[in-house]
Assembly symmetry: C2
Homo-oligomer: 408 residues x 2
């Protein structure tokens, strides 16, 4: 028997069935007309924002990194809740443009921006988080050609990391940002070129669950930003302090203590140096805002036994849930939170493997899980499906195609 990850807060039952947004899972499947289906809960997203705002200093602004989930209705909802949006490609710029969001509150990070992406962003008034001196030079040249003053922030590759983070993006050689020691010179160049210097972006890692690690990282980010500002003899208009706030996916994971994080930030904000005292201060979150609000629903197509093990074969799989299958950024596969949605309150009585419909042994949704007895036709829920699910999975694999998505 292998344990399952913890089911996020806020999911109750109606008539024994998993409820999302006040209706049973089967209701949404009926409305969508088919499985597999991602259901995102408006109420869970709003609740998450409310909890976060309550815990954080009033001064702190919250940006949404749309890469976590750019499904149109989710993006539209979040754009009414977030202070700004962060994009990572020209494609994402078009998605944001379609929502009507104020593009001056959008910033664009990413180490491989093409000239046409820089051009579109500069024309739109989007702030570029510059990833290299070359990119700065290209952007200045494109701004010149367009007759538009580019808005430029500098993405810093700091000399520290976010401890215990799922993905480290600072500390040592990285393709992201500009090594801290070279940043002051670049700031001077931007100012000398007459560009609109918007500040710094310091993103050190993602998916940390330790408040201590996040507090330590945020303190270092503020110190680093101050040091760079002093060296460049300027103040920082905006500071994107990065994200890193994780959510529990796996057995034993505990939620991040955002109250502790918020209190530490409040203290630091009370004693900011001159270089930062007038700054707009941001955090940039993706997964933390929407990850736990999404549920992936898939239907059991077959129930079979093989050499003593039970397999529940679903009509979904890794083509929509690459990370849950254990094939994206993880070395050892562990179970996500998974449940039989149509028997949500039933007692677990057997050990079963939940697999996808793909003809590959990689396509696993839960290994040796303790579950209620499920039959063909039952619905399986994979939780924590609100971020890096639909868009971060190979939906065309084996000719399957994308899942349905709905915000409810």
């Amino acid at each position: 028997m292998k344990p399952l990850g913890p089911i996020p807060a806020g999911f109750a039952a109606i008539n024994g069935e998993l409820a999302i947004g006040g209706k049973p899972a089967s209701h949404w499947v009926e409305e969508a007309g088919r499985t597999p289906l991602f259901v995102y809960s408006r109420e869970r997203i709003e609740q998450r924002f409310a909890e976060l705002r309550a815990a954080m200093p009033e001064r702190l602004k919250v940006n949404y990194a749309i890469k976590a989930n750019s499904f149109g209705p989710v993006l539209s909802l979040v754009s009414t809740l977030a202070d700004g949006l962060d994009i990572a490609s020209g494609g994402e710029l078009e998605m944001v443009r379609a929502t009507g969001f104020d593009l001056s509150r959008v910033s664009f990070a990413g180490p491989g921006k093409r000239d046409e992406e820089l051009k579109a962003a500069i024309e739109a008034g989007v702030t570029l988080n510059l990833e290299s001196e070359n990119e700065a030079q290209r952007a200045i040249a494109i701004g010149g050609e367009l007759g538009v003053t580019p808005r430029m922030a500098v993405r810093v590759n700091p000399d520290f990391e976010l401890k215990g983070s799922g993905m480290k993006m600072g500390g040592g050689a990285k393709p992201f940002g500009i090594d801290a020691e070279r940043v002051p010179a670049l700031i001077r160049r931007i100012l000398d070129a007459g560009c609109d210097f918007r500040g710094l972006h310091i993103f050190t890692g993602s998916q940390a669950l330790s408040a201590e690690a996040v507090i330590d990282m945020q303190a270092k980010v503020l110190d680093c930003a101050h040091r760079l500002a002093v060296e460049a003899d300027t103040s920082i208009p905006k500071l994107n302090m990065g994200g890193g706030y994780g959510i529990p996916y796996f057995p034993g994971d505990k939620p991040l203590d955002i109250t502790a994080v918020g209190e530490a930030l409040e203290q630091r904000f009370a004693e900011l140096p001159d270089t930062l005292s007038q700054s707009e201060l941001f955090i940039e979150l993706g997964r933390y805002l929407v990850g736990e609000a999404g549920v992936y629903l898939t239907r059991i197509v077959d129930r079979k036994d093989s050499y003593g093990e039970t397999y529940l074969v679903t009509d979904g799989g890794l083509h929509h849930q690459l990370a849950a299958s254990g094939n994206f950024g993880t070395v050892v596969r562990r179970n996500y939170p998974v449940a039989i949605a149509s028997r949500f309150t039933a007692e677990p009585v057997e050990e079963a493997n939940v697999v996808g419909c793909l003809c590959t042994p990689l396509d696993r949704l839960a290994d040796k899980a303790h579950l209620p007895r499920a039959e063909v036709g039952d619905l399986v829920a994979v939780f924590c499906a609100g971020a890096y699910g639909a868009s971060a999975s190979p939906s065309a694999f084996l000719g399957q195609g994308p899942a349905e998505e709905m915000l409810v």
Copy 2:
């Protein structure tokens, strides 16, 4: 410095540039109008089939598993070279239908076939490789409703595995096929139901490079098929012996010795028991037929240094090359064969990391590779991109979208 995988045979240079199908890489990029771009070589695919046919017994038929690469022009080409096609979903059935291929030479495996997929396949005269007794029952019922006699083969989960294979699909509890010991009873049930019994499908693993392992596996497959036929008191019309023929991806990998495999098969075919002497005998290959014929071309957008390391940032990445990035079915990341296509004959002079344009540390195409000095604008080639590339990667990730594909 980390070694790169071996570049497949058949790729020469023109004016110092990598040539594919008799033209330099930059020619195809110009024709496509953009990077990233998958270029598949018609000549390499035809050559591979010719070598395989020459090495294998004349009696052996070769099926193509379209999941490896279902890009329309590739599928059309391969459908003129292969004896049959194997599909894994209703979506793939529609792709094959579009080529005009004779659907009676198509078989459909996959553990999670939906009722509507079974219906479409039965109506089309496709052979079902049954994955469970339940599926057999559903198919018989659907055939009855349609008034069509279903063509049915049984996929066997054998009690042995393909040694050294990248992915094991036999030997122990598996979601694929029916445990060998239960197969004779199911064959009887199919015959008793008046269905068209087409034989057995025994697929034990993929991506093996040891001829000895493949020879051992094929011998066991023939023995297993015979044993099951005797127990079911029938002969086997068709036997799909599976695939498992691997290609070299990583440093130190050596090509599979297909001459040795073919000779061993010739010997076995000379002494087949009655149950198999009249059978059509197949192997089912995907990756082996098209994998080495494909090259992924991406352009360098930035060249940057970070704490002493050099990064070549491309406009491609894991959204098209998930497996090459080390994030699909591999535990330890190793380098695929990668080269600077636009300086294919230049001497390596530096150590560089080739990364994609995505804002994640997972997006790596080559780590600490020994390469010629490359600049912004140069083209990078990732080899072995003909199978499980475009369709097995999350192309929508970060709003990037799919790459171009062309058969040349």
